[in-house]
Subunit: 499 residues, 4 copies
């Protein structure tokens, strides 16, 4: 009843879908996490931090809080502001909280997968929020099931709970560390056990995780349980700290566990140093531009990308136009470097919802028109440099080129601020399968023809690495190179190619 | 209703309630279950069957269906008609389905406990719906947790899933049987595994479970997978069969597993014959009067109760008035036997909802008034026999007596169609704790004084047993006698009394 | 764009439906109204009073309140408990309130018709709640439109607002009285203007309207604006007073206006005495049995109907079975008078909702089964007297007879506690058109054959009148006789018959 | 925002607000309208057109459709995509439709004011959707009420319906024209009567209204009623036409009625030419940049504003930063003209909802932080030109300046792409009262000090007019000058100043 092909899907019961190609499964991708320790409004701060990280996942959200004696939790489908009300936040009592926001597929069953996941075992209750994707979850799950474990979600994260429960280590931190050593792939975690908070980052550091401090206001609700003067906060991105007024202390380093309790925090290493594999796509597209990710300003990276693109791929054109919103930052850089004027010539409808109703009589390119309308007064007779951050399947890009041309442009020169995307991600970014990626099977000229563009240039890999300041090979660029940093995925990828 | 004896709660994580006192929860009581095998509209028949059994649990409902390859499920808080829509039923495809409706406490977390519970393990997916309450769940849970199991609900039912997963038996039916032998207490179960349906009743047969047959209409959507000509259905009560047009075949006997698959059904015994402990409260109050329960008409039992009460406890009065709706059936019997005219002199408001808004200025006995209004033209100057099926805490009964008197009655003679309720139920009926039961600490005269009634008589235990035709001691009467048929509960009950 | 045939529909724009037969229009029927003056929780008392009168209309509800300076209102589709929340009631400030609950057809537009209706004109704001149906609304509307008025609802009640606005009388009470004199048909009204409350009943008194008094609790929120010591309340039925603890003072007499303001109340007569036309159907079916209607106990009337029926139409049978819930009261009377035992042999599902989902494979008589299940243990081999209050189209009655027979009855003798219903009501009860009434075109024997009953007897008109104690011809019996007490309707009815 | 000059409110019933001061309401501002004639999917096209104009009003939406025989309508609170579902659109049958989207204050009563407004009178049903604000509505309303009219909304638009109903003209178009001549102020209207559609623009042309054509696809659902080959569409902005694929024909000229029926369209003039008073704020802020408004590209106007601002008010600075989203277009122009690099240094949270929950412990400038976060890597040590389109109360601007400085800016030079806003609008833009406008009582240097900016320069009025190409004085600039083009408002404004 549960055919589990290939390595993509980290195993699990098959709810509602049996896919011949499990590469499509997108359950595990793109999340934001947060942890708060030692604040009388812990759940509200978690809520605000999730809110600032809403771009990391908009389909479900959850918070678990604790006052050291009792655990409260609330999760639901939808955006953060919809899932939580004044009342639900009020019920989330305590001075410790962890939270999670995520993408997921539609459907009622998915609430089971919403995080944080909570389970009870012989050490009491533990809750966990996970950003990333485990690449050996399927193998671990099979072993666990053979040992008598039952699984109630399809989330790879559930595997971690089982490993902790099965550990023979006496102390929780040791059990946690022992469990982590069995994982392969990407994981930034916040874990709540009793009144202790743990923040964890995998040995390669695929996903970001930062630690901050928030002084408690004198005279605020007293927390006799705590001796530290400040609250500690963790988040995927620093923009969460900006909103709640926290100061960034540091990144949680790859292979480290930060444990926070009433006496303060303590950093331990659960895994030896490994080659870093920071996700370069966080800088290219995913993170907010006002965040610091892997110690670098995201905005600067994107500005660099646009400037480098202008140098590598100049165009004999009149204006620079971004594809909103993904191409804006690079387009501003391109314009600055090239001297060509920047114009918002594609206007985005900010009210687009998921359940939009189409007319039965097809309006040509209706879906894209719903999102983008060209400004004829800008485009009329102009040679346009159209900047975006990537081409995925090519179908949307093709429609946008057409819209720009119908808006009056005499030439459309497409410039992409990355190399061609040729391989899917298995570390937590939701990308289509290899087959669907147009650049996996077409060269640049073929893609240009498909787009009906006058020219098409991608940024070079060197340009990309230089733009994010990677001179030590610390970034994972698997989506542009097909070189996966973890063994299991790499073997499978090679096997796939031999077929 | 809060302080439960310590053996009540079968263990589980403490969501939202203080950890020090884990004994508060009342999650396991009062449910209706249903199973359908071999019908192209299995989920819709399950839905209708739950609907007919809505009185057995109104706070959550769920259905799991299967077409042999894939499992679909939907559950939600609320009544059956609210939880399921045309669309959700459409998505519940397949020819096998199990369903569950239940009471539970309020709060968002409870959805996790809604049944059927589904888990994945090394035998694939299994779903289970449970009516009853396991009395050794806490012990089993501790053992399982010590062995590395994690629990994601507070339901005793989850224990069964773990036991099956841990069984070393090769075949699923053997693993199921092995697991059942470890359980103590009350359980009527329907279990869905692959495309097999299992119906189970505990060796004492605390809770009802009946099997029926539904001929498939010729020319209906073909089911090539099936060889049997008919669909088989299971339900807690026969009224579910009446609605869907099925014929009752038999009761699932205590200690039996009925397994249904594409070739037909097969009955096996997983436990030796044991003393029966049919729940007498099903006949007294819980089941629908149009159902056959334990092979007897519920209506007949209730009519008998009223008639016997009239003989045991006649009253020098003018009219017989039921407390709606619980006292109606017995009051009709009382009237018929005594010759005193029957009158609906308390009118019930059928629209009472849970979130009713009270005025700030207290209206005396507002809550009861909201439900019951006296008909003065009947009561004026009359000596009234007021019939109900039980007195629990006494507070509501006291208010009703007062209302009847304010409605003009010159005398109020309370007659109860059962013996005094002195002990809580641990087999699946949600009763208050012993302390809260007025009859556990007051004699009949004291209760009469508290009620301010002119007389008060309860039916005798003999009268009760005779009314339900129990001449072989097959019924559990623990709530009236304190004699619990299972060892663990009995020991704990005795220990409590020694304190 | 608005073809308005025949006299049934009192005119109005045609929203969403153009019916060839406007007799079907059921916009104006079956309502409950309430008025509260001089209480700090006026809106809450109105809410409770509507709640008690929920049986008079379950599809929309509304309340308008005033503190003498500002008007607040809230209305919505659904039952009272759903339409109002703690918050909406809090916002309905003031010491005066009127409320309304009603039936209506489904659809979003209907909210426009929800009452109370409020309008602004040169005398300020006026709100009105109406129970009944105006039979000359169409004519009045045409005249008003010809004079330049615009209508924003399809409700006949809007006509009253326009008439008041057009009146040249200087004082509001005079303008109100002048307007009322132009109306024909049924109207019990509560009207809110500034801080004055008016209660009105049409000269024939078709619909009930009672006045009560509620002492204000000493020390309650002071109402310096008021000099009277008590709050005054108005409602369609006395059961509303029972719930809020008010004492009935009197009925508002036909042709009277009761005006309440800060100085007390004053009764005036706006129309001369007329022949009374109390709606007999209030006693037969519509009102709650615990209410006093037209000065009589509704329960007594129904008990009388059953007893009289037993005398007029005895049956050689074994048991008396009511069609729940409409036939219960008369069946109890029939049983008492005949000596035949009374049994609830048809069990009603109390959870029936409007949006129930049927199986695609038709289950025979599914709709009725969903509501009623026979108790075989009672019916088996019995000769049954089946009692109901009316037969409308005959289709449902036929199904019920069949269900009783399938439940095991050897004979089914149908007894109806009224004469045959041969004519539709135009005074506020929602009945089908004449064509649809089976008794308008079939004699009793034909109906019996259609029902497949062993015998069928209706109560006589004399029996009906005697049962409600009408010795002065004060009741309207048009539905049983076709004699309409108002001219316009009578003329039209006669014209229809000539066709 | 509460004390409005007394002429603001065009009178009407006082719902929920104190009667003594009826001037508080802001019901009449900022709307988008649409009309579709002669298309089988008229309602869907109206829906799409409203969707494209969502920025013109996000709090309620409505559509009325007609097939010549029957009118269907649906309106609700919320954004277009929330108000309409597939089902509601399906029910809006017919080939003619008008729609409306608007701002309004919160509260349940407001649904009554949602447009289109529909009324029935002696000419049948008429529906109307209105963008703009009538400045003599209060006077007209009083006259109408004195004549016996009743008002059921607080909308000035209802006045128009009454005037049409009162007109003695025989034909509807004549009655419409006669009514329009009595109006003063701003109104762009679409009117639906029988199967005729009317589009109207006031003689000064305050608000935009464009007409377009949409060829019907051959083979589409036939419309035998129509002889014209194409559908005609009307909208406030051309961006609506872009989405549905319509071609702009022309603007509806000030003082014109365009009547469309089955035979085509006909333009008539109902008022003589008047001085034009095009709303300049449509170009400055309100309209979408991809629309043509008053025959000009909105984007071009805004680009001009930024360029002119750079020339009039250069700054010795390093970068140009817009206040998102209002200042973006002008900032791009400023950057291009000045040569200073453009940077998005304030990141907007796109997920801001209305019901956001604040922490109890105040986070400094929390509200603005929730919307805007500074990018430190850009701002650090930079001299910033901060560009916005207006300063209203000054409080938000002050917080933004502070945020920019806290983000690391060494200097903040504020540049505003308009003259100071000194007077409220009474023609359909929702601005605060004069008192609340900081520029009405403070000079530029005082404002600069309040903002704590290093410099502050507004664009000159000449610069503004030149940027929108107004060389003939066709624009209303009352908000910047206090010179109101209509008499009643001007008199009142002068009276206010004398106080």
């Amino acid at each position: 009843m549960s055919t589990r092909p290939s390595y993509r899907k980290p195993a699990g019961p098959v709810f509602k879908t049996i896919k011949g190609n499990a590469m499509d499964d997108k359950f595990h991708d793109e999340c934001g996490i947060v942890g708060v320790y030692g604040h009388p409004e812990a759940a509200k701060l978690a809520y605000l931090s999730l809110y600032a990280q809403q771009h990391r996942g908009q389909e479900s959200a959850g918070i678990v809080s604790s006052n050291g004696k009792k655990i409260c939790h609330h999760k639901g489908m939808g955006q953060v502001a919809d899932v939580f009300s004044e009342n639900t936040l009020k019920r989330l009592r305590g001075w410790v909280a962890i939270g999670h926001t995520r993408y997921s597929t539609a459907g009622d069953t998915v609430l089971l997968n919403a995080q944080p996941l909570t389970a009870s075992f012989n050490r009491g209750l533990v809750s966990i929020a996970h950003n990333g994707n485990l690449t050996n979850a399927r193998q671990l799950r099979k072993t666990l099931e053979d040992g008598g474990s039952i699984f109630q979600t399809t989330s790879d994260t559930e595997v971690i709970l089982h490993l902790i429960a099965r550990s023979k280590k006496k102390d929780f931190p040791d059990a946690l560390a022992e469990s982590l050593l069995q994982l392969e792939g990407a994981y930034s975690l916040v874990v709540l056990h009793q009144d202790h908070l743990y923040a964890v980052r995998d040995p390669r550091g695929f996903r970001p995780l930062v630690m901050g401090i928030l002084p408690r206001i004198p005279g605020q609700a007293s927390l006799p349980e705590l001796t530290a003067d400040s609250a500690f906060v963790f988040a995927s991105e620093t923009c969460a700290f900006d909103l709640i007024g926290a100061q960034t202390i540091c990144e949680v380093q790859p292979g480290e566990i930060v444990q926070v309790n009433s006496e303060g925090y303590r950093v331990t290493r659960f895994a030896p140093e490994n080659q870093h594999s920071f996700c370069i796509f966080e800088h290219v597209y995913f993170a907010r531009p006002d965040s610091m990710i892997f110690g670098r300003s995201v905005h600067s990276s994107r500005d660099n990308l646009g400037r480098r693109l202008a140098r590598e791929a100049p165009a004999d054109a009149d204006i620079v136009v971004p594809v909103p919103d993904s191409g804006v930052a690079a387009a501003v850089g391109y314009s600055a470097e090239s001297g060509l004027p920047f114009h918002f010539a594609l206007i985005r409808n900010h009210y687009v919802g998921r359940t939009f109703i189409e007319p039965e009589q097809s309006i040509r390119d209706f879906g894209v028109k719903l999102k983008l309308n060209p400004v004829r007064s800008i485009l009329e007779g102009k040679r346009v440099v159209l900047v975006d951050d990537s081409i995925v399947r090519g179908t949307t890009s093709r429609k946008i080129v057409r819209i720009v041309r119908e808006g009056g442009a005499s030439e459309v020169h497409v410039r992409i601020s990355c190399p061609p995307t040729i391989s899917p991600c298995f570390y937590g970014i939701d990308t289509p399968t290899q087959k669907e990626l147009i650049a996996s099977s077409h060269n640049v000229e073929e893609i240009r023809q498909y787009l009906e563009a006058d020219s098409l240039v991608y940024l070079s890999l060197e340009g990309l690495l230089a733009s994010v300041g990677d001179d030590k090979g610390e970034f994972c660029t698997a989506c542009y190179t097909g070189n996966y940093p973890t063994k299991l995925v790499q073997l499978q990828a090679e096997a796939n190619q031999r077929r």
